[in-house]
Point group: C2
Chain length 416, copies 2
């Protein structure tokens, strides 16, 4: 079956047209384990915060009017009638001419409407001199002034970080409703690959992709379901893919998509349900043999067998779908600007991605140096590439010293 290769944009468009970010359901997470989860409820405050009028300073709770005339030369004189411990309801009232000792955070007692700072007073036993006037409400944090009961505190869809988890704790919550994490089945195929941990038969190499892609799934907010290497046999692969489609929210295979007679991955996808394959090869380098299909709403990516190509296409096309299923913002990948260290050539008529290593030259200019890729150097490329540079279809090459945008696979600073 011959189908015309799609351009990169056409492939993206086909995928976007077909993809529905279906709701995967919610679960309850214990607050201490809710870090980096996506909130699936609008959280409304069930209490006023603070729940009572609170002093914001150490000093004396008073009636403000009792201090109105006070200044450094003519202090007001009040009688200390008690003290309020922090964390306890007040057991005293403040009458006219009275003051009650109070610390930061303690509840304002009945009768008082302001707090005089300890620095502005002088005390001898029960006699308190106040050397400055306070206005009603001064040094008092009003009940509900931080958050009113019924106020919307956190919106559905927020990714929970330390601040957000702190806010939920402030409401007394210990559990919270979060979106389920998308399950992504990861399958390697190909007669030449063997699972790590097993003996290596002659003529075979260890499978890299099930591991590197599973890890990339975690990085993208998904949970990998590791299928390992499925024997290179149409029935076995069909059975594995059927299980994968039934049990996961998305399926990613690698290897087995080629021009050879054993290229049955697309046939299997088509056989599993409608609409089947929607992208059959893309005019990119590397990654040309990529196919993308859907069984119902579930996306099925079949990536090339070459580990760097597989990861690249994963980042470009599969990662955004996992993020959207996870309810996360699809931010652009991190980029840095650098200068080409060597001339980089494009593949004729294909969007080309050149793997590069970043390094600073003697003038502290950031240089993007191509990493040998392609047929050789599968592991070397993976280990050494910091990211990639894109060359458009209509460009022939990027020249030495030309400024380029490098899309990073990981934090570059962390490696330097």
């Amino acid at each position: 079956m011959f189908r015309k290769l799609l351009t990169f944009e056409e492939a993206q468009k086909k995928i976007d047209e077909q993809f529905k970010p279906v709701f995967l359901g919610e679960e309850e997470a214990v607050l201490l384990e809710a870090y980096n989860r996506v909130l699936n409820e609008d959280v409304v405050s069930t209490l006023d915060i603070p729940p009572f009028n609170r002093s914001t300073v150490d000093g004396y709770a008073v009636k403000a009017e009792d201090t109105f005339e006070a200044d450094e030369n003519t202090p007001a004189t009040l009688k200390v009638s008690g003290a309020i411990n922090i964390g306890e309801p007040p057991n005293v009232k403040v009458g006219k001419g009275e003051a009650v000792e109070i610390v930061t955070g303690a509840p304002i007692p009945e009768g008082a409407d302001a707090v005089v700072m300890v620095e502005d007073t002088q005390r001898e036993d029960a006699d308190l001199q106040v050397f400055g006037a306070v206005t009603s409400g001064e040094n008092v944090m009003k009940k509900g002034s931080d958050l009113k009961k019924g106020a919307l505190v956190l919106k559905k869809g927020v990714v929970l970080g330390s601040s957000e988890i702190g806010v939920l704790a402030a409401l007394g919550l210990t559990k919270v409703k979060v979106l389920k994490i998308p399950m992504v089945a990861v399958i390697s195929t190909g007669a030449e690959v063997t699972e790590p941990g097993k003996p290596l038969p002659p003529g075979k190499i260890y499978d890299i992709n099930a591991y590197s892609i599973s890890t990339a799934v975690i990085e993208s907010g998904g949970k990998p379901v590791y299928f390992g290497v499925v024997p290179d046999d149409k029935a076995a692969l069909a059975k594995a893919m059927q299980t994968a489609v039934a049990s996961a929210d998305m399926v990613i295979t690698s290897g087995g998509v080629s021009v050879g007679p054993r290229d049955y991955t697309p046939q299997i996808v088509d056989s599993l349900g409608k609409p089947g394959i929607v992208v059959y090869g893309i005019a990119v380098k590397p990654g040309k043999p990529t196919t993308v299909g859907f069984v119902g709403d579930k996306p099925i990516f079949s990536l090339p067998g070459h580990p760097t190509s597989a990861l690249l296409i994963f980042y470009l096309l599969a990662r955004p779908l996992i993020l959207r299923l996870a309810g996360r913002p699809v931010g652009a990948m991190r980029m840095v600007r650098a200068f080409a260290g060597s001339r980089m050539f494009s593949a004729k008529g294909r969007r080309t991605f050149v793997m590069v290593r970043l390094e600073f030259d003697e003038n502290c200019r950031l240089i993007a140096e191509p990493v040998e890729s392609g047929a050789s150097g599968a592991i070397t490329t993976l280990a050494n590439a910091d990211g990639f540079v894109e060359i458009a279809e209509n460009e022939q090459f990027i020249d030495v010293d030309q400024e380029v945008a490098v899309v990073l696979f990981r934090g570059f600073a962390a490696k330097a």
Copy 2:
């Protein structure tokens, strides 16, 4: 006891002088769970990759010399003597004048030293015409050319991402030695706080810090050990801190460090072992009452009770220590440049940190707008602040429209 406040730099220096990033030990991690762990061994290749000479194209394995004269008009004629399946050891040899069918990735058979691409041939039964010459080694990836047995593949200290985990899989590994994660005890103190999930007694508020700081510990590569709220009682707090020091690699308390009579956290630290408290208050705003001590090699941070202040000082001073204990690079926190939306004032003689919210104005300029902080707005600040702006000790204020560097608490793009 009165001690002079240290400047921010002095406090950092005191901490750096005392801190030793001790080795916390290693553990074995299953490769699929090693994502984002720190490798604690130099990984050396135990095999040649590829383990055999491999074809990089689909075509025919030949003796290069048999094609030397071939071109489009005078093809070389060879006899196809067999085929090699991918993933299997070759069961044929290539003799003079012979060719063996081969696919990409399959092992080169004995006798052959090059592969002719299928596009350059024409075949009728066993007769093969070759329309182009190949040189010895052409379209062959040599055994060990990607990675030689004995080569250093990944260095101790690398943080494992998808590429690195792929590389480890390529070597057939399923387990790897990683650094232990630092355990950080997180304790809240103060008579006014109650643990979330419990009923809220009058005069109290829910504790935020044990949750927000535990989460920030995770973000910094540590594992929080949640102690919750310890009763505001010297014996109880001393016991909890003793347990914390004995069981964790670092301790972080919040609240209870103030000028009040109940300020016994520093006394307890001093009583637990040498050198005790090394930083007793810092000339910063907020965060002035921060104390830092060491019991042996274990750092003990006592942060203010105000949630935003506690998180801020955590990020500035405690986070780098957790990263170093974890064996991770202490990267700078993420920053963006923005313009001050309002005038921001500093506290006289103290390094001042102003919490800000970021937003774009109508001209798409990024504006840093101060978030109400301080005594009021504990939750509001936590929920709304994207980061902070620093004002030096000798500056009085930052003016409206002045360009400022905003240190981000989290990804800003993710929130916008």
